[in-house]
Amino acid sequence: MANEAVKYVWEGAIPLQIHLHKSDVASHPAPPPALVLAPRIGYLPLLIPHIKPYFKDSLPPGEDSIWFDYKGVPLKWYIPTGVLFDLLCAEPERPWNLTIHFRGYPSNILIPCEGEDFVKWNFVNSLKEAQYIINGNCKNVMNMSQSDQEDLWTSVMNGDLDAYTKLSPKLKMATIEDDFSRKASLSSPQSRQGATEMDVAGQVKTARVPVRLYVRSINQDFENLEDVPEIDTWDDISYLNRPFEFLREEGKCFTLRNAIESLLPEFIGDKAQTSGEERSKDDDTEEADGLLREMGEIKLARIQGIEMKLEIPFSWVVNNLMNPEFYLHISVLVKAPQR
């Protein structure tokens, strides 16, 4: 479905200002920062061929092992660049100031990345996992010819949506739809042939959607995003890689809020745990407010840089805002429940 929204996602980019870490500076004066436009759906190591020329004359002798940090936090290169930005910058910083290192890879924290192959296989493994979630098996990815897999990856690397759109049907990913999107697509003038096939084949009652949730939990309420404290380490972020599951039911439409709350049932929403005290239904409004304060609350959900209205139908979000490996990455800022 190469529509407006998908094009918007593929064209999304983040201006980066990359500073060479001072311990890697062997020239005088120190080189100025490099300015690079990073595709949101891409990965930081893919930018290295564009960045290295700026700094190569300043580097000390030795072999490169390249990594990036933001305010001292080493960046996980296997997370799409746009997701890193949405998650680590509560108040978006433009350009985004990152530091590049050519030595001293923190291999106790980051898995190694020794070239484009590593990034490609991370992508392919995520794609397999997503296909497993959606289709129930990953045989289509496994059976793809070597050259098709290469071409698919190249289309992602180059941000070439046209090439990607020609290749992705070979993956035969089942469509993700609930009653809302099914009715929407039936009423549209051109019903895709794929949808009809899936309707017959997709008798699956329970549908699963690949989701990666990155959750930042803050203890106090805040007025502005710039008041949100900075992240010191990845331990400040909770990562959940688990699919959203739902039953295809007549008349049922899931919102983004429903999806997020179902992935974090103990943390926010109706089922959130409150203190051990009993709450009776006859409580007056003051008590009820107290209850609300005790539950966690979604303050912000960002997908592809967009601050989402939580009432948007989830199927629309998935179909339009997912990454090329078919995962929906959601950065969430939550006010922690008061326990």
């Binding site: 106790n108 924290i109 898995i111 190694p112 296989w121 331990d235 909770s238 990562y239 103990e266």
Partner: protein
């Protein structure tokens, strides 16, 4: 509606995993006394998000391995020594020859449930006594030779280095794609014997295969 007590299509629900894990840990403790017991780590200790007491993973840590200079052809188990002082004498195959580097390698093993693949996944890491992580090249020398040749054939799809789902650190993982297929084969043999594989035996059956990749054998009694 699957109550979680059944193994369907070789896969487990998250509730089934909790049941299977506890059963596995109990049997291990009873039948496999040459090794320390597995412990259950509730996820609530690892992430803020889940206060459900039922979710967690199994952990077996600080296993000391000294690889032998000669590979024994019949017994491909890792030469494992126990750290703790046990009253029992160690079994024969744990008598050790020191490895070429003359250093001790320690291993941690975690069995974590994958919500995506609906099967357990084995994560492991190796380190030396100073705590420095071991690279895959070094670990390969500790693995049984059949695993090593499989590794060489498929660099990216057999053992991969990935971030631990809950610990923010690099671990090695046995790729789960395909697990359900061979578990189904194992269940079919019990189906032809007239019974469905009970969920309590899932991890035992699973580990009887997976454990061999990393050289951890389980005694046959555990399969009963």
């Amino acid at each position: 509606m699957n109550s979680g007590r059944e193994v369907i299509d070789g896969r487990l629900t998250v509730e089934g995993f909790s049941v299977a894990a506890r059963a596995f840990a109990d049997k291990w403790k009873t039948h496999n006394q040459s090794l320390p017991p597995w412990s259950w780590v509730p996820l609530i200790n690892r992430t803020l998000l889940l206060s459900n007491q039922e979710e967690g993973y199994l952990s077996l840590e600080n296993i000391l391995i000294l690889s032998s200079l000669e590979e024994s052809t019949e017994d491909e188990s890792l030469n494992v020594a126990t750290e703790c002082s046990e009253k029992e004498e160690p079994v024969d195959h744990t008598i050790l020859v020191q490895n070429q580097e003359n250093e001790a390698h320690y291993y941690d093993f975690h069995i974590v449930y994958s919500a995506s693949y609906k099967v357990p996944v084995l994560y492991f890491r190796g380190y030396c006594s100073g705590g420095q992580p071991l690279s895959l090249d070094v670990i390969k020398k500790d693995l049984p030779s059949c695993s090593v040749s499989l590794l060489l054939q498929s660099k990216w799809t057999f053992i991969t280095q990935e971030e631990h789902p809950y610990l923010n650190r690099p671990w090695f993982k046995l790729h789960p794609c395909g697990t359900e297929d061979w578990i189904k084969l194992l269940s079919q043999s019990s189906i032809s014997a007239g019974c469905q594989m009970p969920v309590e035996l899932y991890l035992v059956s699973w580990f009887s295969v997976v454990g061999q990749v990393v050289g951890l054998r389980i005694p046959l009694e555990m399969l009963n």
